[in-house]
């Protein structure tokens, strides 16, 4: 699987570390219910999935990758940093 790192270009997925669902915002401190959802519950859809990949062996950027988890087609990748500052 090749991930188009917005900084480095097309790279093998083995250069990245994966950490799953990227659609969940971190809840405000102290909200135990919301934090429980955030830490433990996942939609885990069988189709298009937004997910975090960390370019550990490359530029060290955290990416938000849009990928179809049923076909492994990588649709898009952006820097999480850019999205976070929007």
């Amino acid at each position: 699987m090749r991930i188009p790192c917005p900084y480095c270009g097309s790279r093998d997925a083995s250069e990245f570390a994966y950490s799953g669902d990227a659609t969940l915002p971190r809840p405000a401190p102290g909200n135990a219910d919301a934090m429980f959802d955030y830490v433990y519950l996942r939609d885990n859809p069988a189709g298009v999935h937004r997910e975090y990949w960390y370019h550990a062996a490359g530029c060290h950027a955290w990416l938000k990758v849009t990928r179809n988890v049923s076909t492994h087609e990588v649709i898009d990748a952006v820097l999480a940093h850019d999205e976070a500052t929007l």
Binding site: M1, R2, A32, A56, A61, W62, H72, H81
Partner: protein, 988 residues
């Protein structure tokens, strides 16, 4: 060197280069350009092995990678290579092969008695029996079954050869260099595309090498040679011979190049095989087609083989596999084989065609051979080689014909396996009577026989088109090309496979001995999905993956369950398309080179001092230093600990993760990732910190120093360095991008040594002189500083893991060895002792510091006695989840110190803890011992443990239970700090 089966002339072998080889210990001759199979056939060696289950004699069946029968063990000793298909082995001088799965020989095999039990050993018989008595399965039945498992044997010796991996990038990958593949490569190559042409054979040409057709008025084989020459001239085209593409994966193809398999042993520095990982924008699958055999009683005798293979042996290798040959076909293609064989000088006795009508000009191809239309072969005889076939003619009359060879031709199956690897399916085409693929991997086209474009002209035309289309996809213009001219006729497929006749077994899968009756029985027993059929009968699961048997098997199933083939479908193809040596996937990463080795700057100096090293992640660390006369590790470690506690010792701690954190918001950032506060840390100071995962459990600990207002250095544990870096980057980039924080790992930059013990200050003073004031006043406990010696920057930290007065001094790693030596030199006056990780560990246990065995990912800060560090004034990662019921439960095991009631008792990590007098049971288990050490100061073993309500139990006597090491003893629970509880030594 002429043998009876080698034709007098013809073929693409090099008759000027005779080659000698041995098979089962006997020496034979062949020619350069032969395969092992063609050379064996030339030497009248048809029978080369035995089948898996019944140990029936089996002969060479094909001329390619679809071979089910002719599996041999190539080479011997550590280089022995079991289950090698003789049909794909390129003959070389000195080749040494032997038969397998038979004893004493393929001609006389004792296990052939299995055949007598044949009727009993049908599909799935073992699921129905061998159940009583229960203990007999492992003692008796299974060992017997396992004894007959497998075909060839591994040597059990380490593979002496090397493998390597390589990456390649191209516009177009062409899989297969038959006419379709060559035409595709030519048109894309001429358009300027970067092309890789991969061909598993050692000669390019595919079926062109086996056929006598003409292209552009030259022989097909010559055309292939000319095409190869043109491609070889193009700098942007790479031809990979002996390279099979074995799989399509997401974004890349896998291919295996047999770099030196055709040589007796790999020359120096040459790998045996190379694993290619090919990233291709476009792909043309031109893998050709495989001829289908026919299923009829007695169809497995040596001498019965694919008709097209007979043609290959005659045309390409100048070998006629038999003296008197019959052809049994269901399409025109069988007649072509007959014609070519006759032309090559072989005797065709009879051609049998299942079709009632065959065009006259096709029938002419058989010359003066007997011809039967609407007929089939209904029985055969001959044990070690075919002697007779029985023909049932259109009127139902039978007659026997004496032949030693029967070519069977059931039409062709396109080789679409690779096109389905990413989940595409084969769809049955009624028109082509074959499975075609529609849902290919992105960028893939299929051309030639793999797309059921049967004629040579079609293969060339569609191959060229596919190549041009691929080029245009990557933006390269189509140039008009002279069409390649060939004229031949399609032979088409006909949907017939199974013929009735005698009661003899009719084999579908020759290697796994699956018969037509087995298929029927499976259907009868309810295994109605092809996948269930496969698993119940093992059809298609052998080393050939059913390349010649799958279509026939599922067609027979479809017939049994009264469904169409389209409804029944095919089993899923999986990589590797051809079996690939496991060593090739490992490349260089075997044995010692499995993972990189990281060495610290003091490694060489330490090694010179007779040091035992230990793996710490990828690092090698000094575990202890063996002094002369020491015979036991505990002796060395005890000496090191005593030396530190009474004088001074040096330990390389460079492997700890070090992260530089810069920017104006680092303090805020650290407050959010650590449970304690860092924004208040003054410049020039160090603080111990603990960070949690978001789920509230402890992730890592370490000290962080503030070198200047905007510059901190964090240390992490050795094993968690990467994980912490990733976590911090996540926190910054994803959670708090608004903070002015920059971070980078500096683990590699700094060599760092702990200088510990009451004389450590004296040593540093001697070393540094005026360069830095190390007095307690100027540089108190938890101070840090940077200074230069000459132009070399050095760092000093007053931190202690041992509990003694201690420092850590760091220099750029290139100066690390000199610094280590300088420390040792300066320390001579103080009797300095280098110490390793064991002594380090003993001292941290004595001091009650937690480490890896307590920071095991299952503990919270409170469990480690660090609960009070959890700030209540701020939010930090993990805080909310750390408040969950179970994480604040006082019954959770908590850190304690432990000492044996019987002081001579050795403690061991992993022993379980129980209250005194209770019976060990899951619900009475109160914890376990996490760390143990022999404390030289106390002169007995001590330990740390996690114990339920531990802190309340100081003074209690508890039970340690360690059945895996036969341990059962009493411990006293005490405070985890065994030395200097007030910390006076630290601050001295």
């Amino acid at each position: 060197m002429s043998t009876s089966y080698r034709l007098a002339s013809g073929g693409l072998i090099d008759r000027s280069r005779p080659v000698s080889f041995t098979f089962d210990g006997k020496t034979y001759g062949g020619y350069a350009g032969d395969t092992l199979a063609s050379a064996l056939l030339a030497n009248d060696m048809m029978l080369v092995g035995r089948s898996f289950k019944y140990h029936r004699p089996r002969g060479i069946f094909s001329a390619g990678p679809e071979e089910p029968n002719a599996l041999v063990t190539l080479r011997s000793g550590a280089r022995a290579e079991p289950n090698t298909k003789a049909t794909t082995v390129e003959l070389f001088d000195g080749l040494d092969a032997s038969s397998q799965n038979c004893w004493p020989s393929p001609h006389f095999d004792l296990r052939a008695v299995h055949q007598l039990a044949g009727p009993l050993l049908n599909a799935g018989f073992y699921y129905k029996t061998f159940m009583w008595p229960a203990a007999f399965w492992e003692k008796f039945y299974e060992p017997a079954i396992r004894a007959s498992a497998g075909l060839g044997a591994l040597s059990a010796l380490d593979d002496p050869d090397t493998y390597e991996k390589a990456h390649a990038f191209c516009d177009l990958l062409v899989i297969g260099a038959g006419p379709a593949g060559l035409a595709a490569a030519l048109s894309a190559g001429r358009a300027g595309a970067r092309v890789i042409l991969a061909e598993e054979d050692f000669v390019l040409g595919g079926r062109l090498l086996s056929d006598t057709t003409q292209i552009d008025d030259v022989s097909a084989a010559s055309w292939a040679a000319v095409a190869e020459a043109e491609l070889a001239m193009m700098p942007h085209v790479r031809i990979l011979k002996r390279t099979a593409v074995f799989g399509a994966y997401d974004g890349e193809y896998g291919a295996i190049e047999r770099v030196s398999d055709h040589l007796p042993v790999p020359p120096p520095f040459m790998p045996r095989q190379r694993l290619w990982k090919i990233v291709a924008k476009q792909c043309v699958l031109a893998a050709g087609a495989q001829e289908r055999p026919l299923v009829f009683p007695g169809n497995d005798r040596p001498g019965i083989m694919l008709a097209s293979a007979l043609r290959t042996y005659a045309n390409r290798f100048g070998v006629s596999p038999g003296q008197r040959i019959a052809i049994f076909t269901t399409s025109d293609d069988g007649w072509r084989s007959a014609s070519d064989l006759q032309k090559a000088g072989a005797e065709i006795a009879v051609v049998i065609d299942a079709r009632a009508e065959v065009a006259p000009d096709v029938r002419k191809l058989a010359g003066n051979a007997l011809q039967f239309l609407g007929a089939h072969v209904s029985d055969t005889s001959g044990y070690r080689r075919l002697t007779n076939i029985t023909i049932t003619d259109s009127a139902g009359q039978t007659r026997s014909v004496a032949v030693d060879t029967l070519g069977v031709s059931g039409g062709w199956s396109p080789s679409i396996g690779i096109a389905t690897h990413l989940g595409g399916k084969g769809n049955w085409s009624e028109e082509k009577s074959a499975f075609l693929c529609s849902d290919m991997p992105p960028g893939m086209q299929i051309a030639g026989a793999a797309a059921a474009q049967w004629t040579l002209a079609d293969a060339l035309e569609h191959g060229a088109l596919a190549g041009a289309k691929a080029a245009s996809h990557v933006g390269l213009g189509l140039q008009t090309q002279k069409p390649i001219v060939a004229s031949d006729e399609a032979s088409g497929n006909n949907p017939v496979w199974l013929f009735k006749g005698s009661r003899r077994k009719a084999f579908v899968d020759l290697q796994n001995d699956v018969t037509a009756t087995d298929v029927a029985l499976a259907a009868q027993e309810g295994f109605r999905s092809v996948e269930q059929l496969k698993r119940y009968t093992t059809l298609g699961m052998a080393t050939d993956q059913g390349k010649t048997s799958n279509v026939n098997g599922l067609a027979i199933l479809a017939g049994e369950i009264k469904k169409t083939i389209a409804e029944t479908g095919a089993t899923r193809a999986r990589p590797p398309h051809v079996p690939v040596a496991i060593g090739a996937f490992a490349g260089l990463h075997t044995a010692r080179h499995f993972k990189p080795t990281r060495l610290t700057a003091s490694h060489a100096a330490s090694a010179a001092a007779n040091t035992t090293f230990v793996e710490a992640g990828q690092w090698m660390r000094a575990q202890w230093f063996n002094a002369p006369g020491e015979t036991d590790w505990l002796q060395s470690v005890t000496r090191e600990v005593k030396a530190v506690r009474s004088g001074v010792g040096i330990c390389d701690v460079s492997t700890l993760g070090k992260i530089a954190l810069c920017g104006s918001d680092v303090g805020t950032f650290l407050d959010r990732v650590y449970i304690n506060t860092f924004s208040t840390l003054p410049v020039g100071k160090v603080r111990y910190g603990v960070m949690l995962r978001e789920d509230g459990f402890v992730m890592d600990d370490g000290t962080t120093a503030r070198l200047s207002t905007d510059h901190y250095v964090m240390t992490t544990t050795t094993v968690n360095a990467g994980k912490v870096m990733q976590h911090l980057e996540y926190c910054h980039q994803v959670l708090w991008p608004e903070l002015d924080v920059q971070m980078v790992s500096v683990t590699e930059q700094w060599a760092q040594y702990a200088v510990a013990g009451p004389k450590s200050r004296d040593l540093l003073r001697a070393l540094l002189g005026d360069a830095f004031d190390v007095s307690n006043e100027a540089f108190p406990y938890l101070a840090c500083g940077e200074f230069h010696v000459g132009n070399i920057p050095l760092r000093l930290f007053r931190v202690s893991f041992s509990g003694e007065l201690a420092y850590e001094i760091a220099a750029p790693a290139g100066h690390g060895e000199s610094l280590f030596n300088a420390l040792m030199q300066a320390g001579k006056a103080f009797d300095v002792t280098p110490y390793g990780t064991e002594a380090l560990s003993v001292m941290r246990i004595e001091k009650g510091h937690v480490a890896g065995s307590e920071l095991n990912g299952q503990t919270v800060a409170r469990d480690l006695g660090l609960g009070r560090m959890m700030s209540v004034k701020k939010d930090y990662i993990g805080r909310t989840m750390a408040a969950r019921e179970a994480l604040i439960d006082p019954d959770q095991p908590t850190l304690v110190g432990l000492r044996p009631v019987d002081r001579s008792q050795r403690l061991r990590n992993g022993a379980l803890l129980f209250a005194r007098g209770v019976t060990p049971a899951p619900d009475t288990n109160a914890g376990f011992i996490t760390s143990t050490a022999f404390s030289p100061g106390h002169n007995h073993w001590i330990g740390l443990g996690l114990l339920a309500r531990g802190p309340e139990r100081h003074g209690e006597i508890i039970r340690a239970w360690d059945p895996v090491r036969s341990g059962d003893y009493e411990l006293e629970v005490i405070d985890p700090v065994f030395i200097d509880a007030e910390g006076a030594r630290l601050r001295a």
